[in-house]
Subunit: 369 residues, 3 copies
């Protein structure tokens, strides 16, 4: 089975992949009309969604073909490649606000929207659902560490000590290293020393995973699609600022809500479908797992890479509203997952908190930068 | 049994109802001496307490006579009618600080003082008490959503973006709608789709409920008493500002502590008595249930009605101390109810947190408005 | 067995006690060279550690010889005598920042570092460890009350009402009384009325306690060592400010990290050794118990004593970063102990949060005073 035929096969099965047609369209349109920011913004969004889905499929295939341990590592590092690539494009363009909004927005969207909608959709079909609460606790504790890591430099930066900019940069690097170490030890814990704690209760239930591609297909797809996402992300990042102005949305709203929804589209499809099939362990680990991965892996990588590829280094200082959102998202996820049981109203709870924040972002653009 | 004879019967059984005599007294006194604010304040407090108790008795009677579903709905909407009527009187008089202190104070008093005293009184009589923790979790999650709803506009308003007043008003309306929707869905969940989760463990224990009045008594009493509370509330609201000055208390302290204790007197009697009879499910649902009802039903109704009946619309912006109190009250309630077990020291915990805040309010009047 | 021979016996068994030799050294050195602050600082640290260990051993011996109830009370009041004596020395010297850093630092170090290292060390030897979660919950709830007690005056003081200094002082005294009352009632609860809840699951496991000294040895040692700690603390407090300048550390870092580690050295030895022997109940109660004791007993005693012995009364206002640290330390401890189970990664979690704060304190000295 060649890359081409298997891609064709996938497109027939998943109509969303027809949107891959937007990938050539966005490149052609940009060469014709490079100043049509709003159109380019919409086209690049339409192109990134199917690319992210394909990327996600390829990552999972490679993971499935390489055994539990390496597969787990791959999923843990490449699982949010889309968000990483978008954030890197924004970083190279020097759009720090967009970088941070993308990171905070991904944490916030995955924890509240993706998890909430999964609980709601699953709960509408199943009266009460159970999931592995030890696994959920592990992910929410990781998110909590990340929240602390965001709140500390932000509070310190807000205290206004003279000359604190350089200090905050040093502190951000130190915290980035602590986060990466914690993430690495967390992988060791969950994939090796205490693997059994994370065993799903879903064994025997209907599976949602599609058959994995062979490595000969998955690896080239992974490489090619990543390049395309990087290319489209550049158009996206260039156009987003002008487009958001014309559409009457703030850069923070775009980062928090639009980019986050676009970047997580692939995971959402899987998470929602698993919830409806009562495989809630999968939903919970995708939703909170993505959030903690972005917080403990993508965010510190961005901070460290900013010393290499960005016009200026970036730090872990977020505006107070963003820190509050991440903190409250973490507390909400901790509260609703602590019992290991779910019903539809738990989803409503998470979505209500999401809507309150989304309204605030939409109606009152934060002053940042 | 006519309204009059059954009222007489109640008064004989419940000596607190002798205080109903203060209702005519307060009206007579006001017509004689409308400027004696402190006396009028004290008289109106003395009149509201027995009125609130009678109102509560009438509401429960109507609820008991109309079946589980409608009864639950009635309790859920009229259960805090006293607080609603007082807040509306303050709203019409343009006393926004008092309105907000009443709302925040009711949440704070019910969660910390009423729940704490119930746990303490129950625990002094029973070594260890158990209660339905799923039900407590539901109520504390609702309160948590309300805390988020208060913290977001307050943080946003504090960020000082130019022209943010109109934005904050819009945001408050949006959040009020989200809260009411969540409250409605919560009723659907607890009264209909997942009713069984909320089943009390108290079945078979000694009952505290007095026999319900027939509808022919309860409905007129409900109507008449509401009117009287509204009339007395107006005298109360007119006199409170002058009286608090003369008594050396801030408007915030009066709203947070005095009004809240007055408004909740009826529920407290029931909650304490249930706790001593080891019917802790009832105590917990009255205490935290009242708090979440005020947060998710009374508060948004006040915001929306303020566009119709107030001199100026009000919003959901509270001063930072009030937001902190509501947030900490919610976290405290969540912590102490998560195990579903209680002993006397749990009550001490809640009362200690209550006393710390009450001391702060008494000793250091917040700057508001 | 005389005091002298039993001391010799101890020293032979516990090599750390050789450091007792630093006690005479520090006094001699100070009389020779009273301006050598850095050397005196290091010498006094080296002298306090073995003194604290001996004090801890004497307190436990007295407790073991006087029965459960009085023994429990003694441990609860003298268990953190070292921290109390150091804080009193700093108080008499008018070094309020150091007093507060010592208190906040002890809470923070015991909760995050001592507990984290115990979980990590215990977890490296035992796959999964269990502990009495009711007991852990009791201690974390006490810490939560203390966090609220710290956050309220600090927020109030930060609101900048005119003339609020006297008000904050009044409030601090009121809260100190509330904390002491709560602490006393907590002892009544845990040592008398609900003793059985706190029963350890460790019965039958290998014991770590060394045999208790007879009272004829323990009481004189207790008295003499306390006097020595007081004397060495004075040298320590005098030298710390100059020394921290020369070593390039802020007073806050010294108080938070160095003093806290020094003061807790004795408890740490016991806690770590218990964790490795799978007696996690002991570790948890030492670590969180010390933290709650400092918060609810040492801190209010300091505030009340400051009216008697200090140049100026002190209050409960901490700088925002310190309040945040205590609050987050409490939340972290609550999260990780709620399940009653532990594995090595739980220790990593606590240590990661500790390292984030320690980095912030080291890199960015807070502006205080």
């Amino acid at each position: 089975m060649s890359v081409l035929t298997s891609t064709m096969h996938e497109i027939r099965k998943n109509p969303a992949l027809w949107f891959l047609l937007f990938v050539p369209v966005v490149f052609v349109y940009q060469s014709i009309n490079p100043a049509a920011h709003t159109v380019l913004f919409l086209l690049s969004v339409a192109a990134i969604v199917p690319l992210a889905m394909t990327l996600s499929r390829a990552t999972e295939s490679v993971a499935a073909r390489t055994g539990d341990m390496i597969g787990g590592l791959l999923n843990a590092t490449l699982g949010n490649l889309t968000e990483l690539v978008i954030a890197l494009a924004a970083l190279r363009a020097g759009q720090i606000v967009l970088v941070k909004a993308t990171i905070a927005g991904a944490i916030f969207t995955n924890t509240l929207f993706m998890l909430g909608a999964s609980f709601l959709l699953g709960g509408l079909k199943n009266h009460v659902q159970e999931f592995n609460k030890a696994s959920a606790r592990f992910q929410t504790v990781l998110m909590f560490i990340a929240s602390v890591a965001l709140v500390v430099p932000s509070v310190v930066a807000g205290s206004g000590v003279a000359g604190s900019d350089a200090m905050v940069a040093d502190l951000s690097v130190a915290i980035a290293v602590i986060l990466l170490l914690t993430y690495g030890l967390g992988l060791l814990f969950s994939l090796k020393t205490h693997k059994s704690i994370f065993t799903s209760r879903d064994e025997g239930k209907e599976h949602v995973d599609e058959p994995a591609w062979p490595l000969s297909v998955a690896l080239p797809v992974l490489a090619i699609v990543t390049v395309f996402i990087a290319l489209v992300s550049e158009i996206f990042v260039e156009s987003v600022q002008e487009a958001s102005l014309q559409l009457g949305m703030s850069a923070a709203f775009v980062g928090f809500v639009i980019v986050a929804l676009v970047g997580a589209a692939a995971e959402m499809t899987t998470s929602f479908s698993a919830a409806r099939k009562d495989r809630l362990d999968l939903s919970v680990s995708i939703a909170i797992g993505s959030a903690s991965q972005i917080a403990l892996f993508v965010a510190p990588v961005i901070v460290l890479l900013s010393y290499v590829i960005a016009p200026a280094p970036t730090d872990l200082v977020f505006w107070p509203g963003a820190v509050m959102m991440v903190m409250i998202a973490t507390i909400t996820a901790t509260m609703v997952t602590s019992s290991g049981r779910s019903a539809w109203f738990v989803g409503v709870t998470l979505l209500a908190v999401y809507l309150i924040f989304a309204s605030a972002l939409y109606l009152i653009p934060p002053r940042v930068g």
